[in-house]
């Protein structure tokens, strides 16, 4: 089942044409990975999926991005509400400089939630596989957590506003292999309830955790296919050259 659809998407940073005629689908309760060399447009595309690029001046977007068949670039779209439905976790863990508890409740409070906050904190920390490690220190500053814990806190914070889709922009590139393993396990769990899109530089990570993979090069989507197909017998020889390390 399709959750998001990208139609003829083009994006320019000033005169630089960063995304060229992108067409693809994001399937519900699946993990979709974007791979490609630096500057290929994969992060730009993921940021189009919740209009994060609106925050950058000089960006011009053409084309459509549908979320449950509704174009998120339509004029009547409430961008704050869109980003609640399509959450994002960034490369570097970025907890707010406040307590663990407040990090989770910040978003829901902003959206008007006043009751059941403690239950929410417990539930979301459990979903993010962090509860057992922090349940006795909820009042402690989130900045004191380890990098891997901070990243899982950011995931819990994202889950707290109950999104449909979660975008991960290189979520493990600042983490050690153990923390990376935990995040990967977590993504595998989360896809039961959420639709996930991930940008990664680590091709083995894409192979391990994603169901679909898109290979980007110079702003073009060169191949979009099932991950198992991409990593055993890709259709496009350019994809093969990139994933086997012969180029990129």
């Amino acid at each position: 089942m399709v959750k998001m659809e990208v139609h003829d998407l083009n994006l320019w940073y000033g005169s630089f044409h960063a995304l060229k005629d992108i067409n693809m689908k994001v399937y519900k309760h699946k993990v979709t990975a974007f791979i490609g060399p630096s500057g290929c447009g994969k992060s730009t595309l993921i940021r189009c999926l919740n209009r994060m690029n609106d925050l950058i001046s000089n960006v011009h977007v053409e084309g459509r991005v549908l979320l449950d068949d509704k174009n998120i670039y339509d004029k009547d779209i409430d961008v704050v509400n869109l980003r609640k439905r399509v959450g994002m976790v960034f490369q570097k863990p970025n907890p707010f400089p406040m307590s663990i508890h407040e990090n989770i409740t910040y978003g829901p409070k902003l959206h008007g939630k006043k009751k059941g906050l403690d239950e929410l904190v417990e539930e979301k920390l459990k979903d993010a596989a962090l509860w057992s490690e922090v349940k006795d220190i909820l009042g402690q500053n989130a900045m004191d957590l380890s990098g891997g814990q901070q990243q899982r806190l950011c995931i819990a914070r994202c889950l707290a506003v109950e999104p449909d889709v979660i975008l991960f922009d290189e979520p493990c590139s600042a983490l050690d292999p153990i923390s990376t393993g935990k995040i990967e396990d977590l993504i595998n769990e989360l896809k039961r309830h959420y639709t996930i899109v991930i940008v990664t530089h680590n091709m083995q990570q894409a192979a391990r955790i994603s169901d679909y993979t898109g290979y980007f090069y110079l702003g073009e989507l060169k191949e979009f296919n099932k991950t198992k197909k991409i990593f055993t017998n890709p259709d496009n020889p350019e994809t093969e050259r990139y994933i086997t390390g012969k180029f990129g």
Binding site: F231, T232, N233, P234, T239, I243, T244, G245, K246, F247
Partner: protein, 216 residues
């Protein structure tokens, strides 16, 4: 980004596998020659050389495993390593068949053969040709060349059936022929299997090139 060390490792694995393949092919030829000529010395040489193939098989398997572990290959590189691993097993079996045929030479070294050996050398000739083509197709990664092996396997199968029927008549004629007829049946069976292993190697070249496993 290029991966020179990895490329070198792949080339090395391929080179050693092809050299092991050539040795196996030579041993099969020599084993049948020893049978035909009742050449005891040649048979003993084949038996000793099989150990060399067994050792090389272990080394190649270790090298492939290390390369997979250290280089995390995908797509064409992964298919090449899996193909090499499976081919190594097939080639090692070829050595075993050569040894078994050489042992049969030794078993009947002082006997007069119950029949002139015609089908067996013919099967041998075709099977050796199949090994040659399949190894070359692997070396050059040429799927079309690999497909040339398919009809040859049918020829070997048909010669095997004929040989089996012929040797059965010798058994029925005279029970004294049983021991030798069984041995020759076994040689024919081994050669039929040699052809099957050559076919496996050829089919894997098709898989390597086209990524389609249905030929296996």
């Amino acid at each position: 980004m290029t991966r020179n060390k990895f490329e070198q490792q792949l080339a090395e694995i391929k080179r050693r596998l092809l050299s092991m393949g050539s040795l196996s092919e030579e041993l099969i030829g020599q084993s049948v020659q020893s049978l035909k000529d009742q050449d005891v010395e040649l048979a003993k040489k084949v038996i000793a050389s099989d150990k060399q193939i067994d050792r090389e098989y272990v080394n190649i398997e270790k090298k492939i495993m290390r390369t997979i572990a250290m280089q995390a290959p995908v797509a064409g590189d992964l298919r090449l390593l899996l193909t090499a691993l499976k081919n190594a097993t097939d080639i090692e079996r070829l050595g075993d068949y050569a040894k078994d045929i050489a042992e049969i030479t030794l078993r009947h070294k002082d006997e007069e053969y119950i029949t002139k050996l015609i089908n067996i050398p013919r099967m041998n000739e075709i099977a050796l040709n199949m090994i040659q083509i399949s190894l070359e197709s692997f070396e050059t990664e040429d799927a079309d060349m690999a497909r040339q092996v398919h009809p040859l396997d049918d020829e070997v199968d048909s010669l095997y059936d004929r040989t089996f029927r012929l040797l059965t008549t010798y058994i029925l004629e005279n029970p004294k022929n049983i021991s030798q007829a069984f041995s020759l049946m076994l040689v024919a069976r081994h050669l039929e299997r040699v052809a099957d292993h050559a076919l496996n190697i050829a089919n894997r070249t098709i898989y390597l090139k086209e990524g389609d496993i249905q030929y296996i």
